[in-house]
Symmetry: C2
Subunit: 139 residues, 2 copies
């Protein structure tokens, strides 16, 4: 428990601020992942697709590489960037634990709404009966 408090206090200092969640937070980096998802691509080719300098893209690639989302392979004077999509399992698993919760809730909500509808129908029916009774008694 103490360790937990300690860890949470110094998390922003201790932790290498390069986890997968951090890496995919940036839209440019997500776009890079999309580009290299199916086949390895040269650094320059990636850079050409964006309107920022090659250096800026290089930095993004470094971040992605540092957190294990891609691997850079030297090939002559070129460098090929290959996606390591398995690293996304971390994110997948994290979301998955909550998807169970929200799916459960949606189901519960659906049941609730259906129950409400049923109740509302019964009330309406009773109301109609009462109105009919009043009408009858007026006659």
């Amino acid at each position: 428990m103490l360790a937990f408090i300690f860890a949470s206090k110094y998390l922003h200092i201790m932790e290498i601020r390069r986890d997968v969640f951090q890496a995919i937070a940036d839209p440019t980096r997500r776009e890079i992942i999309r580009l290299i998802a199916t086949q390895p691509v040269k650094i320059n080719t990636i850079a050409e697709r964006f309107d920022v300098t090659r250096q800026a893209i290089s930095l993004h690639l470094k971040i992605l590489s540092e957190c294990g989302l891609l691997h850079i392979r030297q090939s002559g004077r070129e460098r090929l960037c290959e996606a390591k999509l398995e690293k996304l399992i971390e994110v997948h698993d994290w979301v998955e634990q909550y998807s169970k919760l929200w799916k459960g809730r949606l189901k519960a909500l659906k049941n609730f709404v259906e129950q409400e509808e049923l109740q509302s129908k019964i009330i309406k029916k009773n109301k109609r009966n009462k109105i009919n009774q009043i009408k009858k008694s007026k006659k």
Copy 2:
């Protein structure tokens, strides 16, 4: 196409820098989500669980709220934070499109490794036969 280039150029200016990916990038915010995932919790109760000030936590809650991951409900002088986990669908779907790719690759890799093993066995077998032949001829 032009629109895409334009969009990608000004993405970091145009975009409200508060998307779900950005929100879950911070470990403190992920921990907050964990705390309120199953039931609504008061702001102060959340803040007590961390070693930073209430104000810092309040800011995190604001960010989570702005991107739709939680809803703050006033209840007298208290404020209850309720998780809106459905918002994680965005992340879920994004990861899912790549999970298909990485699963496919792992399968391909498995096949490749199995093939390699088979090849290696055949080679070893051939080698063994040769050695035996040599041994035989020596005798």
